[in-house]
């Protein structure tokens, strides 16, 4: 099934009918192609264009120096849209340089519940092999590596032929099977260092032919969706530590620009990241600031940016009964664009008609907050969240595990500019949060 773009699913843009509001407010679709007309540059309101910075670093990197970037962001912050934008920009000829971008979505190659380096490298090889521009199958280094991968797979009892052109893409698909993935890893584990070295040679060869043939300056590999891997214990450590801290840094030696996504919860542990990666730069796609760090005053830049964001999709005069309703939805989202879209869609679906007013938004916020009630009830970390709200900082009393969980689950959100944190407005509406507020000391008894 080829899914239609958002703009193709509605009768007109901006939307003026209630029934199309949920469709155009589908925050699950990264903007690309015809949907690009919905794109609004939120970089100012996010505290700077971190993706443009990545682009500049890659574009301006001295020849022979290869950038490695780790990109993260909260669920629904617009990571995929931003990565698509990065890919698009890198392919443009600017300052006389353009790049070929290989988008490597691990979902399409591996069983994402249990990924480690050996199968990641094999799947990456398969993705490069299948790229229609790179012409990898014709390269000697590729044939050598391909035979090696096929031999390992065959030794596991996987039925593959000897025609590399057919079997390498097949291998890329077979590794989606969790059991095969695990067995392949066991087989290939001892050779991974050597394979990474050979991959380096292959990438050099690819670049040489690409530059000569296509006039493209270099290649960039974007590995997407690694951040969705869920944290779990593996032999006394977490799988995050195993892959992101111990294994992935080995890819830094590859002579290619790489951008990889990683879990937002790891971003809070910058010390660990810096120690693990020699050169990689970790950035986060932050939320749009909708309030000031101290106090609860609105951030006018963020509010205006998100009004424009909504206005690109919705006829604001038709859909909202007034400016108050719009701003209330924006404040309730905490600057998370997906949540903002969900709040608006939810209010319209609940009411069944437009325009929606402040009361409709308030009801939608309450319903969305109710989803979080069971998640938050009884969490020992709750009292500490009030410190986050008051100070904008993560207090030391929140341990590393809780910090990761809070960020991963959008209970605490991070803003850029000066880095600061807030409790998500939806979480702040829960009874669990409200009732965990520190009690004020009783007033001292009056003295005569």
């Amino acid at each position: 099934m080829v899914s239609k773009s958002l703009v193709e699913r509605v009768t007109q843009i901006p939307v003026r009918e209630a029934r199309y509001v949920p469709t155009i407010c589908d925050g699950n679709i990264p903007l690309q192609g015809p949907d690009h007309r919905l794109f609004v540059d939120l970089t100012n309101a996010r505290g700077g264009d971190r993706i443009a910075e990545v682009e500049r670093r890659i574009r301006w990197a001295p020849v022979g120096t290869y950038e490695k970037h780790l990109v993260t962001g909260h669920a629904g912050s617009g990571k995929s849209t931003e990565l698509n934008r990065l890919a698009h920009e890198l392919q443009e000829d600017k300052d006389g340089r353009s790049f070929h971008v290989v988008m490597f979505d691990i979902n399409q190659h591996l069983d994402p519940s249990d990924i480690q380096l050996p199968e990641l490298v094999a799947a990456l090889f398969s993705a490069l092999w299948s790229d229609p521009v790179l012409n990898v199958p014709s390269l000697a280094a590729a044939k050598h590596l391909g035979k090696q991968f096929i031999a390992w797979a065959k030794s596991l009892g996987i039925e593959l032929g000897s025609d590399l052109a057919k079997e390498i893409p097949a291998l890329g698909t077979l590794l989606r099977n969790a059991e095969l993935q695990r067995r392949f890893r066991e087989k290939a584990w001892d050779y991974t260092a050597r394979v990474i070295e050979q991959m380096g040679d292959l990438i050099q060869e690819i670049r040489n032919t690409l530059v000569a043939r296509e006039g493209i300056d270099d290649i960039v590999i974007i590995i997407d969706n690694l951040e969705k891997m869920l944290c779990r214990e593996v032999g006394g450590r977490t799988n995050y530590e195993l892959l992101f801290i111990e294994q992935l840094p080995k890819l830094e030696t590859l002579p290619v620009h790489m951008v990889m996504t990683f879990p937002v919860s790891l971003h809070a542990d910058q010390t660990q990241l810096r120690a693990a990666y020699a050169n990689a730069v970790a950035i986060q796609i932050p939320m749009v600031r909708v309030r000031q760090r101290l106090g609860h005053e609105d951030d006018p830049v963020g509010l205006q940016a998100l009004r424009e964001f909504l206005g690109r999709r919705l006829d604001l005069d038709c859909v909202f009964a007034g400016q108050n309703a719009i701003d209330q939805a924006i404040r309730g989202s905490g600057g998370c664009v997906r949540d903002l879209l969900r709040i608006v869609a939810s209010a319209v679906v609940e009411k069944g008609s437009i325009p929606i007013n402040s009361e409709d938004i308030a009801r939608a916020l309450s319903r969305l907050a109710a989803d979080l009630e069971r998640v938050l009830q009884g969490r020992p970390v709750l009292p500490s969240l009030h410190v986050v709200e008051r100070t904008g900082s993560l207090p030391a009393e929140i341990n590393a595990t809780d910090r990761k969980w809070l960020l991963q689950n959008l209970i605490v959100i991070e803003y850029n500019g000066e880095v600061w944190y807030d409790v998500h407005p939806l979480a702040r509406r829960t009874r669990a949060y409200v009732e965990s507020a520190p009690k004020e000391s009783p007033p001292a008894p009056a003295t005569a």
Partner: protein, 552 residues
């Protein structure tokens, strides 16, 4: 030809058997839930928190009723087997779908284990990017509230794309209505006959066991009574209800007692014993009032309205339904509200107030749809057909009846189906399409007999007489009217009786048997005066005046 008005037919108030009322706050969000399903041709994740049991069964029933209707795409139901992961199943199903479709997934709760995500949940977390590519409709996950919290906690990427979430709770029941969903074996959609067999076996088993409490036995007897009633075994139902009633009384269980008395009222109503029905409902009403059982009170008032309606006491019927409507609205009982509005439509139709009747039926229709009550929906559409038929708008009437037949068949409502077929026969007869009319009436006849609806059978027989009358086959017509007459007398349907006698008078007149004709018309006039129906009274009086003038 005499025009047989739909009001001469009997229509039992019918509901989806065993429908479980949901909590008012849940009912209030049903429209939003339907919109979340209907609006859009794209993937959307809908999380439904419904604990296993009646609430989950009910929401599944409603989703089945909504599937493929009113802009909601066809919904394919997936029940995960033990240890089965959801992603593979959803993927395989999605690839096999054609056209706009959605998936309803049940069984995810088995993957709730501790604080960490199991591999099955991890897969889901990654799956969300693939879903919009493969599923052009909603994915409705029905699971426990704890599982939803778990998803939000350990699979945030997946849960964060949810477009809609709803918590389903069953209403606190104050009147037990046995339902298949609540059955002790968990068997759903059980046919009444199978239910009777199972409950009978259960009862026999109880008889063999020692120390079975009388309360336990009373409950089974009561449920068996209901099942027998659904199987059209009024006698058996009555016997079981009375046994249960005795046991409940002995145990001092007032609610059980009220439920049994209500059940006996239902049995009497179906047996056309309106006096007894009224007495039972009034008695049950007092008990429910004592217990402050709102649903019981509202059900009794509605049934008293139906008793009044059957007795052509339109004013009392209207007042009863208005009273019940107000109670249902206050209690957030959407199904009750729908039934009351529909009944008010029936009252208006009986009074030939077509505008009010149409407004009522059209008002009840979306409420029935909202709660997935297909039978109620079918009855409303049928009511709209009746209005069109009374206004001689045969095209609209035919379309309505044909639409209603499909819905009645969908829920296995033989009586509803028979009524619609009868109406289609009347339309054919009005167009002098005798063959079609006869075929329709003959099609309806075994359906009425199958459900033990004597009045329906009588009307059908009379209609076959009408066809014969139009074809000048007086002998055949007379035989049918005689048969119909016996049946109408058996159920105390005076108007039906009058109609038959008037037709027999017409036959006698056509055969120049003036004496017999006079006697028949006079008898019919007496009966019409008894029920106070002015239109036929005027018609018969005219015929009699003409006959008497000729005599002079």
């Amino acid at each position: 030809m005499l025009k047989v008005r739909p009001k001469n037919r009997r229509r039992l108030r019918q509901q989806r058997d065993g429908m479980i009322p949901l909590a008012p706050e849940t009912e209030q969000r049903m429209d939003a839930f339907r919109r979340a399903l209907a609006w859009g041709d794209h993937f959307r994740l809908i999380l439904v928190a419904a604990p296993p049991g009646p609430a989950r069964e009910e929401i599944l029933e409603r989703l089945r009723a909504w599937s493929g209707r009113d802009e909601i795409p066809a919904l394919v139901e997936l029940h995960l087997a033990a240890a089965e992961r959801p992603v593979g199943r959803i993927r395989d199903t999605a690839h096999s779908l054609t056209g706009p479709s959605g998936i309803v997934l049940v069984g995810l709760d088995q993957h709730l284990a501790g604080e960490q995500a199991t591999p099955a949940i991890q897969e889901l977390n990654y799956f969300r990017d693939e879903l919009p590519q493969i599923l052009p409709g909603p994915l409705v996950i029905i699971c426990s509230p704890d599982m939803i919290a778990h998803l939000l906690s350990v699979a945030p990427d997946f849960a964060s794309v949810r477009a809609f979430s709803i918590e389903i709770n069953a209403a606190r029941s104050d009147r037990e209505v046995p339902s298949s969903a609540e059955s002790d074996t968990g068997v759903r959609d059980e046919m009444p006959a199978a239910k009777v067999e199972r409950l009978s076996a259960l009862l026999a088993g109880m008889d063999l066991r020692k120390n079975v409490g009388s309360a336990e036995r009373a409950k089974i007897l009561f449920r068996l009574g209901w099942a027998l009633l659904q199987s059209h075994d009024g006698e058996g139902a009555s016997r079981r209800m009375i046994e249960a009633l005795e046991l409940f009384r002995r145990a001092g269980d007032v609610l059980g007692e009220a439920n049994c008395i209500f059940g006996l009222g239902e049995i009497a109503l179906r047996n056309f014993d309106y006096e007894s029905a009224q007495a039972h409902f009034e008695k049950a009403l007092q008990l429910y009032l004592k217990l402050n059982a709102v649903r019981g009170v509202s059900d009794c008032i509605q049934q008293l309205g139906h008793v009044a309606l059957r007795g052509s006491d339109h004013e009392s019927a209207r007042a009863r339904f208005e009273e019940a409507l107000s109670l249902c609205r206050r209690a957030g009982d959407v199904l009750g509200e729908a039934n009351c509005i529909q009944s008010l439509g029936q009252v208006a139709l009986e009074r030939s107030d077509h505008e009010s009747a149409r407004a009522r039926f059209e008002g009840a229709l979306p409420l029935h749809r909202r709660v997935g009550d297909v039978r109620g929906e079918a009855n409303c559409i049928e009511g709209l057909g009746d209005i069109a038929l009374e206004r001689s708008d045969h095209e609209s009437a035919r379309a309505r009846f044909e639409e209603a037949i499909l819905l009645h068949r969908k829920v296995g409502s033989l009586l509803g189906e028979a009524n619609c077929i009868m109406s289609l026969g009347k339309i054919a007869l009005a167009h002098s399409d005798h063959e079609s009319a006869r075929a329709r009436f003959e099609e309806a006849l075994p359906l009425y007999r199958g459900v033990g609806d004597v009045q329906g059978e009588a009307n059908c027989m009379g209609s076959l007489g009408d066809v014969a009358l139009e074809r000048l086959d007086d002998e055949f017509a007379r035989a049918r009217f005689e048969e119909a007459l016996t049946l109408h007398r058996r159920v105390g349907d005076v108007r039906g009786e009058a109609n038959c006698i008037q037709r027999l008078g017409n036959i006698a007149l056509r055969r120049s048997d003036r004496e017999t004709a006079l006697a028949r018309f006079e008898e019919a006039l007496r009966l019409y005066r008894q029920v106070g129906d002015p239109a036929p009274i005027g018609a018969v009086e005219k015929v009699l005046a003409r006959l008497n003038t000729k005599q002079e």
